[in-house]
């Protein structure tokens, strides 16, 4: 191992990875849907529904974890004086990227965190997604190495970085005050949830840890490809996998096999392509859906644009039948993944700095 054990950051990354793995399983034990203790894309689809952005009565619940991730990051960033309003790097491209992050995740049925939670729960149907994510990250890195860049993020006047955190404070008020316009499913997977206070506290803790450590699943894959064992994120990722696997085995959540897995389908090609899209986009915009939330909490308005795009995506994937189900991937789902790949290719062409 070539990382320094005396490095405080290394231990923070390890703690963040371990926490994400352990609580990712425990939240499912405490009431969240099976293998979905933490799934940012599922949570966003649920929360979009609660806000009335789609009408699937089985997918409407304002997920407290999501609010916790952002506000935990805000509190931590403010406390350690790391909150900086910044932005201005291809905001529209980031907004649309956020939308397609949810499209890719919905076609696979899960964000990169859930991908590995499914894998560590013994779900072999997630292997196509793992291959897709790694391939997507690798392709994204090839693009970066050849000059694909959305442009520099700048310090921004006017505290624009506060807007998305303020939006999440409003969501917290909605969560606690429960106004009538916030919809709540009484049946379906959105009706399955851990107790509100537990979800919120876990979200706050993980948001704070992720902010301090910069831990992110896709970032770990990226760093593992680039630096191997020298990267602290690689070890954090390993801690995440071990934490999830051990907690799954101890809590009886482990079910090894390819068939009959919860919230999974058998269209491996589309699992691969959906996660390829997510991996590629994540490299391009600097992080997976979870990382976008945490960065938005640090005052990054560019990540905030991606978060807004993710909420729009959450509404669209349910309204247009894009989201896959256990019976497979719909035609709109397949077309949307292809459209997403076309989008990321176009962005790579248009945002490339070519040497003369």
């Amino acid at each position: 191992m070539s990382v320094s054990l005396r490095d405080r950051h290394f231990w923070l990354v390890l703690l963040a990875g371990l926490g994400l793995g352990i609580f990712g399983v425990l939240l499912a034990v405490w009431g969240n849907p099976q293998n979905s203790g933490i799934c940012v894309s599922c949570f966003i689809e649920n929360s979009s529904g609660a806000l009335g952005l789609h009408d699937n009565a089985r997918m409407q619940y304002l997920r407290p974890e999501l609010i916790g991730f952002v506000l935990g990051s805000v509190v931590c960033a403010l406390g350690f004086r790391e909150f900086r309003s910044r932005g201005g790097s291809a905001p529209m491209a980031r907004l649309v990227s956020g939308l397609f992050l949810i499209v890719g995740s919905a076609v696979f049925i899960g964000c990169p965190i859930k991908l590995f939670l499914r894998l560590t729960a013994g779900d072999l149907s997630s292997l196509g997604g793992v291959a897709g994510l790694v391939a997507g990250v690798w392709i994204g890195l090839q693009g970066l190495a050849r000059g694909v860049d959305l442009g520099r993020t700048r310090e921004e006047r006017g505290a624009t970085g506060l807007l998305v955190p303020a939006g999440f404070v409003l969501l917290l008020i909605f969560l606690l005050a429960r106004p009538a316009f916030i919809l709540v499913s009484e049946r379906g997977s959105a009706a399955q949830h851990a107790p509100l206070v537990v979800s919120l506290l876990v979200g706050l803790l993980l948001g704070a840890l992720a902010q301090r450590s910069r831990f992110c699943v896709t970032g770990s894959v990226r760093d593992a490809i680039l630096m191997g064992r020298r990267s602290p994120l690689f070890w954090g990722f390993l801690a995440f996998l071990i934490g999830a696997l051990a907690t799954g085995l101890l809590s009886g959540q482990f079910n090894f096999g390819l068939y009959g897995q919860p919230g999974a389908h058998l269209e491996h090609l589309w699992s691969f392509l959906g996660m390829l899209l997510v991996g590629w986009l994540s490299v391009l915009i600097g992080g997976c859906p979870f990382r976008q939330l945490v960065k938005a909490g640090e005052g990054d308005a560019d990540a905030g644009m991606a978060v807004i795009g993710m909420f729009l995506g959450g509404g669209l994937v349910q309204s247009w039948g894009i989201a896959a189900t256990a019976s497979g991937v719909s035609l709109p789902g397949k077309m949307s993944v292809l459209l997403g790949l076309a989008f990321v290719l176009m962005v790579s062409l248009l945002f490339r700095e070519r040497s003369a």
Binding site: C42, K114, A191, G263, L266, A326
Partner: protein
């Protein structure tokens, strides 16, 4: 931050607007304005539609259930066929067909029908729903799947059996839970 009079006017107006908002919230009655309670109405309307649907299903499919319970399975299937023409695409037709076919020992057809019902209406596997038929679907999967697998081993080219197996896996996956 407040450099000149213009800044002060902006800040004072901001405070005023925020105070007005808090005042409005604090003093608003439960039913003010044309859209007041719209969310409540939506949730309530959804519940009413759901309850109406339950009683509609009970009324329309009641005779089929009676025939099934009295053991007249063929007659019940015929009655269902008749209902299926009146209510095309209704998941409950598939659910009851699956139930009856299972009682008749026709596991392949039962699995296809039950998978069709769950695809159209997830309430059939939802423990919290009045339409919950988990035990029925679990027993269809538990009894039917080993038989289908055995037959498929003997006839590996049988495409329709392969489709039945796929429906069985679908039901297994839905029964296992997870995000929809």
């Amino acid at each position: 931050m407040l450099h000149d009079r213009f800044d002060q006017i902006l800040a004072a107006t901001l405070v005023l607007i925020l105070a007005a908002g808090v005042f409005l919230l604090a003093t608003a009655g439960p039913n003010q304005g044309p859209h007041a309670g719209a969310g409540n109405d939506r949730q309530l309307e959804r519940e009413i539609v759901y309850q109406a649907r339950l009683s509609f299903l009970q009324r329309r499919y009641g005779p089929v259930v009676e025939l099934r319970d009295s053991g007249a399975l063929q007659e019940a299937l015929l009655k269902l066929e008749e209902l299926g023409r009146d209510l095309p695409g209704e998941a409950h037709t598939d659910l009851l067909s699956g139930d009856i076919l299972l009682r008749m020992g026709q596991f392949d057809r039962a699995l296809i029908k039950l998978a069709g019902a769950v695809r159209r209406n997830g309430d059939y596997i939802d423990s919290g729903s009045p339409l919950n038929r988990r035990p029925l679907i679990e027993s269809a999967v538990a009894e039917g799947m080993p038989l289908v697998r055995d037959r498929l081993r003997a006839q590996p080219d049988n495409r329709s059996l392969a489709m039945v197996l796929k429906d069985g896996y679908y039901l297994q996956s839905r029964l296992a839970g997870g995000c929809e």
